[in-house]
């Protein structure tokens, strides 16, 4: 093979590749990348929400236990916290879908 033949071979364009599936996958990846900050933010929000509600519930139970709840002062805050976690999970699932 001489130089001219090699140049001709090297200069041949690379085979054309179909953009279809590649572009779809790429756009999905970009959409995921774009929604990531929103997902992180929603998780932080849910975490803060959980902490606030749990703190309020503990405080409420502590106050109420002096008057009416008697032997199980933590029952109400525990139930409220579990309920909050459950709701947060539901919110996350909905956001992910």
């Amino acid at each position: 093979m001489n130089d001219a033949q090699l140049d001709e071979l090297l200069s041949a364009p690379l085979p054309e590749r179909d953009a279809g599936e590649f572009s779809v996958t790429l756009m999905e990846a970009i959409a995921r990348a774009q929604s990531r900050p929103a997902r992180v933010f929603s998780w932080i929000t849910i975490g803060v929400l959980t902490a606030v509600i749990a703190a309020a519930a503990v405080y409420g139970a502590a106050v109420a236990s002096h008057a009416a709840l008697g032997t199980q002062p933590l029952l109400v805050p525990v139930l409220l916290t579990l309920l909050t976690l459950l709701l947060s999970y539901v919110v996350f699932q909905a956001a992910r879908d």
């Binding site: 090297l10 590649f22 790429l26 990348a33």
Partner: protein, 168 residues
Amino acid sequence: MEELVQRAVARDVAAFSLLARQHQSKVRGLLLRLTRGNHALADDLAQETFLEAWRAIANFRGDSQFATWLYRIAYSRFLMGARKRKPDDQLDDWQGEAPSGEAGTHARIDLERAFAKLSPPESASLTLCFALGLSNTEAADALNMPLGTLKSHVLRGREKLKALLGGP
């Protein structure tokens, strides 16, 4: 800077999508050659290339062609991937299939097999300068190497190819 690129820099997804469609074939072709015909790996790296381009598009100032900028990202992704690959996963011989329905298919396959014997800088230099039509300066910019180094890679790569393809 062309209008489509300007719109993409302003984070217009539709414009970037069009740019990606325009350039995907050449970026994938370059990576396919660098990965020695490994289609799956080449396409994964091409996806990473365009995703990184989208993340960094706001930093694109138009100092080089958009394609050159993409090739630079693609080559650096390839090098990063090569560093991470385990010794068992190293790319050796050409793994691709014969392109069908093309004139000069045999010569093409022989060329790809010969390319698989070159080092990544040699393979990338030759592909950018010949098949993708970049000037030496643009190719050196894309590969982040001095112009003299690029020229020596081109020279050495050509000599190796000639020997592998049965040159005088």
